[in-house]
Subunit: 768 residues, 2 copies
Amino acid sequence: MNQNYIIPNQWSIIEEGFEAERVRSSESLFSLGNGAMGQRANFEENYTGETFQGSYIAGIYYPDKTRVGWWKNGYPEYFAKVLNAPNWIGIHVEINNEILDLATCKSIENYRRELNMKEGWYKRSFEAVMIDETRVKVESIRFLSLQIDELGAIRYSVTPLNREAKITFIPYIDAGIENEDTNWEEKFWEPIEILDDELCTSVTARTLKTRFEACTYMHNELAIDSIPINIDKTIHSKVDYIAHSYTHLVAVNSTFTLFKYGGYVTSLNHDRTTLREAAEKVVSIALEAGFDKLLAQQREAWDAIWQMADITIEGDVKAQQGIRFNIFQLNQTYLGKDDRLNIGPKGFTGEKYGGSTYWDTEAYCIPFYMATKDEKVARSLLKYRYNHLEKAIENAEKLGFTNGAALYPMVTMNGEECHNEWEITFEEIHRNGAISFAIFNYLRYTGDYSYIPEMGLEVMIGIARFWHQRASFSTFQNKYVILGVTGPNEYENNVNNNWYTNYIAQWCIQFAIEHIEKVKTGFPEDYSRIMGVTKLTENEIQQWIKVAENMYFPYSEKHGIFLQQDGFLDKPQITVSDLPKEQRPINQKWSWDRILRSPYIKQADVLQGFYFFEDHFSKDLLERHFDFYEPFTVHESSLSPCVHSIQAAILGRMEQAYTFYLRTSRLDLDDYNKEVHEGLHITSMAGTWMSIVEGFGGMRIKEDKMSFEPRIPMQWEAYSFKVNFRGVIVKLTVKHGKVKLLLEGNMPINVILNGEEITLHPNKELEC
Amino acid sequence: MNQNYIIPNQWSIIEEGFEAERVRSSESLFSLGNGAMGQRANFEENYTGETFQGSYIAGIYYPDKTRVGWWKNGYPEYFAKVLNAPNWIGIHVEINNEILDLATCKSIENYRRELNMKEGWYKRSFEAVMIDETRVKVESIRFLSLQIDELGAIRYSVTPLNREAKITFIPYIDAGIENEDTNWEEKFWEPIEILDDELCTSVTARTLKTRFEACTYMHNELAIDSIPINIDKTIHSKVDYIAHSYTHLVAVNSTFTLFKYGGYVTSLNHDRTTLREAAEKVVSIALEAGFDKLLAQQREAWDAIWQMADITIEGDVKAQQGIRFNIFQLNQTYLGKDDRLNIGPKGFTGEKYGGSTYWDTEAYCIPFYMATKDEKVARSLLKYRYNHLEKAIENAEKLGFTNGAALYPMVTMNGEECHNEWEITFEEIHRNGAISFAIFNYLRYTGDYSYIPEMGLEVMIGIARFWHQRASFSTFQNKYVILGVTGPNEYENNVNNNWYTNYIAQWCIQFAIEHIEKVKTGFPEDYSRIMGVTKLTENEIQQWIKVAENMYFPYSEKHGIFLQQDGFLDKPQITVSDLPKEQRPINQKWSWDRILRSPYIKQADVLQGFYFFEDHFSKDLLERHFDFYEPFTVHESSLSPCVHSIQAAILGRMEQAYTFYLRTSRLDLDDYNKEVHEGLHITSMAGTWMSIVEGFGGMRIKEDKMSFEPRIPMQWEAYSFKVNFRGVIVKLTVKHGKVKLLLEGNMPINVILNGEEITLHPNKELEC
């Protein structure tokens, strides 16, 4: 059974009633982020129950020791991991000297959390009865400012309900934090300096080894019934911790409020010597505006995002909540402002996957950012990889490749490989294909060719070189084979001739050759620069062609399908429907060997190839492959249901498409994979977006035009979305039987609707 | 180039001249052991150069945290690792207050090490010139007593050569040691008690978690020019350390000698409360005998071993030195006195492989111990696995097997799995086959059927059950397949249908069924007990038969050979001769994926099967497989050359057999695999023994008779060995053209020599 406690709502994520066993899950679901920092929905006040503390700063990581059974040549010495950052949200609260702690107080009533996605804030309220029978009402609202992305703000209020009470607020900063995933109780931050004056209280700390510096700061203000008051404070401090303590005797039904402004300024964005100064500046700006105005600005900033990115669904609140949750979290994670950053699979909501960049960005996230933001954002994501090309070449050299062959890391923070399982690090090489595919996708979508001569072609050449060298000739097959790989389906390791890998390898070579020619003709200066750098020869290209043209693809004549890999048919052909429920998810119930020798597929693999290269295959062929592979697919990767939803929609199987849509859009809200407590699946959220736009909306780029083939699930009355396409914005609305298209822009454009070309005129709704 | 500094000698391992870069290598090569404890050849005195300190106590281990990138279900929470034990050999030496340290003294001359294998002692001597120009001669001799296996003894002498000198001996015990392989600077011992009186100085310490207790003790005596003297001592002690300090002004050419008796008594063999008492007892016995008598006893004990185990080779000193080194080290490691112990791949010479038990014991070591010791020793090794049957069943259950299927661990100390790489732990399941094979081998060799009804059959049933469940039916092949395994050749992981694995799986089932029938008929009481325990049904046996009879074996019609695994022919068919020397050993030069997709074979795999089941295959077939696979084999496992040596001998390729023999017998002495500094390859040394006895001697058991087909390498004038066969001892001597057989025993027996049956009469040499 999936979890089912989130209350359906169009714009908010809501939890009602306190259940200790839901705390870790809700800490993930109610997370906040603003692209520069993030915060799990940990309580401000003390909590001695099960919790997973997480505060994160984008771009701040630590090179952890790699822990493996037996060392293998080529493993990275260290891998970057996201660090739990100093805690700026903490506020200890005492009621008549008793610590407020939801794990120990006498009772909790009217407990409620709300994550308001429309406006970008998170509120929690409850009534607690203390051991001494004092009943207090607590309300806390907080947000991470989109506008001032080094700033967060909290309004924390306590109201005694049955008697006057002595209430103490102890807001603090704590740099003595650990990582949840630290087996060895290591600390990663060393404190440098604590400073404290009327304007700003700060702890500056430095990460070990990477030596990032972060100044974590706070400024506190107090009010009684909304009227500011001054209260003398006591200061407690340790080497990595500072707290202010404010005590006040509060009358019954009177509300004592703490405003805490805080956050991080870091050496990523400031000179080390000016961190404190920068923090003071942020505090000054915050104080000038005040809490209410900052919150109003937050609403405006989110409103601007939703203007473009919102998808509406009528008649199905859960589906509506799901898609908005996905869009909200994607925007909380990455806004495209800083080309050193990327999109970690868990965003700012957990530590798993090290917070680093995976192929998810290229394979799943690029379309969302292309369609809902300025195309510069997608270009910035592509440039991230261009900037890492040299390290990708070094990475390939470590594995024995030569001559500028590039292997992009499976997981990275700064271009270096950050993962150390041989079957992934060394063998899950299809990731390289996604890097080229994203360039293709960007070009197709934006029409911006300039990226290719400027940067993309060098990347494409490095990748083509890798595939050329990685394939080997099989005299037995009289073909080129690619041995020893892990495909997108990570439930198979070290297989030979994974169809997806072989296919994308062939395509990468062909794609590179196509654009070498185009750049040669169209951009001779760039061409000669690139040839100078890469030292590519005609002879080498001929070698590439030999490999691409003679690539082997495993195929079953009997089934008329491409085989996921050599030997797939030797597996017991038992489908998921034969798998007892209590054995799922198999990745939590089965040993690894059992998973590997089963036919079960973690995520789209052959079908991933059909998704990327849709135009290469007929609908019949898609149907045959879908029908063969889907029944073996356990969808235990968050990246699986979205691809299946899109393909089911293409095949006109709307019920199935809808089921997969719910699974992808509510994956975390309903915790399909029993792991939401570890954090959210951020990158797959872009897949959810694709399920609607590409799946139901049938949006494609065909011959430089945008095309739609809209379909609507039975369960919905209507849906709508906007896409930003080459400087214009097109809005599609679908109600049963009717499709509306609206163009925002100045010039008419032609789009293709259900195969027919039509002209859209600016700001004039076209109904068909 | 292999290393080449060990001076050839019939009976000793000798090094001359000090080279700092050889220290770690020699520390391995000159190691001492007595089956109960072991000691790398670390210097007694201080040494600040590169060194790998290692003292080991048999059976004392620690459950270390398993370190893996990402956790996989089924991994052990902890794995046993051998522990570096407290140091009892240490003697700081000061010459005129200057610390004697070979890394810092002014010069070193006449440096010599000798490991005397005939008599079981290790001697080191040198002259050192100190910074103050004092020249001293140092001689140290030490041994670990075979007779009193808790006792070691050192005689350490210093003679000033050019002036009188104030000499200080500071013998100490140090329990504050770490493991070489400890990345995290963890300590594994906690000190409990230090006691010090005239008879005995001791540090008792306890291992963390496993809570073994070891009392490490010493007693020191002094002499000038062999005349005992008393010198007042100073005592230094810390919580885990105690030292005595003796200073004496020594005249030029006078010799100051320290006798240090020390070692361990442990809670494995004594009640915890009596450890100190036990140590005192050992010291008393030692003192009563004195150093010289102890050394004489050591000679006698080794003489008794050599009486039976020696192999002589005439005309080839290096070959002679090699085989004796192998026999010596095997006896230092395991003497068969304690059925809780087994033979770790590195014995007492290093930490790699955790000091635990591998399939090496069953596949390689059993024959040596059967032939050179009482058959009880081999039975004890078999019983070790019987005692672990329950844990092997639990281990299989963790991986999803049921109904008493047993999977023996890949690596173990106490029956629990101690390794955590999925491709090994979960997939290198052929190890299970070796456990059954060893029972077969024991039965064949000793004729002692009693082991089967008493213990062996239960093991065989658990193993047959495992294979039955582990195979799956391929509708594609219409056969049973075994997917996702790692064969003996660990340079292939997660392959399908490894021929060796499938073959031994089939054999294990057939072997079990054969003996279920025999026990049913011959031992009805045991039979009904076993059926009661195992709940085996006729129906289940029928299921086993179905799997065994329909097992799939990969085969190439074109080459007329069994394929190592599915898809082997897709690999680039490039032989080792095409591999540049600087890229070897590939396990140190190549990344793991590159190794995996290469055709290179770490060790005999298909050929291992041909070795085990020699009688199942014709010589022609062997030849074809040898010629196909050997050229791909890099022999980077110590277990590889011996099998190839035997098979080359069978094929009459004496030059090749000889080359492989040298490689196996001098693997460590000449450091073929560039890793001797990590310790010696103990288990493969039994393979070296097989190379001579089974390879050159052609010794086999055929229809309950011993048979010989002797061959002699060109390079040798003669060789001889003895084997203990069912209560009699047969000695074979081969000189060019002549074979002599000598029977030690009371009754005549028939043996087969080159296919002809002949009768041997007691103590009468037969020459052919």
